[in-house]
Amino acid sequence: MRAQTIFRWVCLSALLLPLVVLLLLLAQLLFQGSGRLGLDFVTSFPSRKAELAGIYPALVGSVMLMAIATAVAIPLGIGAAIYLEEYASHNLFARMVELNVSNLAGIPSVIYGLLGLELFVRLMGLKQSLLAGALTLALLMLPIIITACREALKTVPRSYQEACYALGSTKFVAIIKVIIPLAMPGILTGSILAISRAIGETAPLIVLGAATYIAFVPDGLDSEFTALPIQIFNWVSRPQKAFWNDAAAGIIVLLLTLLILNLLAIFLRNRFERR
């Protein structure tokens, strides 16, 4: 009996320790970053002086990156998922695609950066632009979206589709009018999770050659850009410790964004489950 109690406590502390670390991390961030937070921080450009620096271009850059990446990745992701779920379940091509999706999910994100560097920056001549960065992130989001969309499509009962056919509808109409609308909450949840993964990605953008110091707001697809995680990385890696406060404040903004995205995903999932 005693052994069981000890073992139980060992297991429980293994579970609680990482949560304690998470709390320490949050406490450290608030301690170091709260002094810098404020409207000025969000609306200022980066600066050589730590106490004047802000995240405005990085924030705008992150928002634009995510908007473009989402616009590219979601249609492609849904398309591939529908193909895999509804059209090709057993042929060689489908198996190849399946293998690839899981393969893509296992590639370290820094390697996506190398692909983006060669493919978008050099071969397609996009330079280190917003578009190149967004396309690279879109590649990263694809496997997550495809997997989530397939799960969402699977939850739509077969009988709905059969009811469509009974009414004389074609497969195309059944998919567009019935299956996709019903799977929509699941698709949205998966997409939001993909966005919240991509918004924190730093390595692929750095490898792509995203600038770490930008004092203007990107004004087009071909503009140079920076993003929130890159700005944070830039501040943490500086030798002057005053910039660590800016980094902490930037991290708080990033984590708040992630929190909002995740709450949105949970909200959608709950609404979905209730139906």
Partner: protein, 292 residues
Amino acid sequence: MFHCHKKLCCENFFLAFLMASALISVGITLGVLVVLFTETFIFFEQVSWRDFLFDTKWTPLFASKHFGIWPLLAGTFLTSAIAMAVALPFGILAAVYLSEFATSKTRRILKPLLEILSGVPTVVYGYFALVFLTPLLQQFVPGLSGFNALSPGLIMGMMIIPLVCSLSEDALYAVPMHLREAAYALGAGKVTTICRVVIPAAYSGIKASVVLAISRAIGETMIVTLAAGQQPQLTLDPRVPIETMTAYIVQVSMGDTPRGTIEYQSIFVVGATLFAITFIINYLLGAKRRTS
């Protein structure tokens, strides 16, 4: 008749779009392979395999260039090993708690809380390792440098715990109840049942989580870039600055290296090595892959 024709055209277009989307995912993988191997091929026209495999120095950015991959491999191995030493015991024990001890209510609260950990961007963990953990550890560990393998390794382990925990818990939870009951019927206690029956029965699922955790640790970039330093050294001392494969790729990318130089090609060689290692781990060890 015309209406029918239009509809058919629309459907064909739709199917073509679906196939194209599916094809793009195949194209990306091919793209990765082509990009990595083209540059790697050019690299090995200038540097011999022998130097790459047997030289013990990695100094492509210095005047006297050496291209021995071992220092980068050692750095990657060291941080990953430390991360595993944290993530595997903690992750599996946490999974045992959730699956075997926790009530369904605590499980519903604790599991999502734990999963927050894996949603935190790695640049944040890098900040934490460099700004918080390293100074803290320096008070206990004599001779710990400002950049070292220990602190990013530990933090990386923390980051990976939810992955190990979540997958292992699925495996433990799936072990049929009658196996446990059979063990109790034979007079085994709960600890014996868990250690001798439940964990062995869930072995393949737990193994898959371990494999995935290792490949995540090897590919992790920002924590080691920020906190482990940028000095490729052939050492297994966790207290000194080292450099991992991923950190090297980032380091070179930061300083605008022109295409066609050996420095530029070297990041693709390191990328190809990284890809090959994660590929071998994922496929030969047969992990069940998961995207999120």
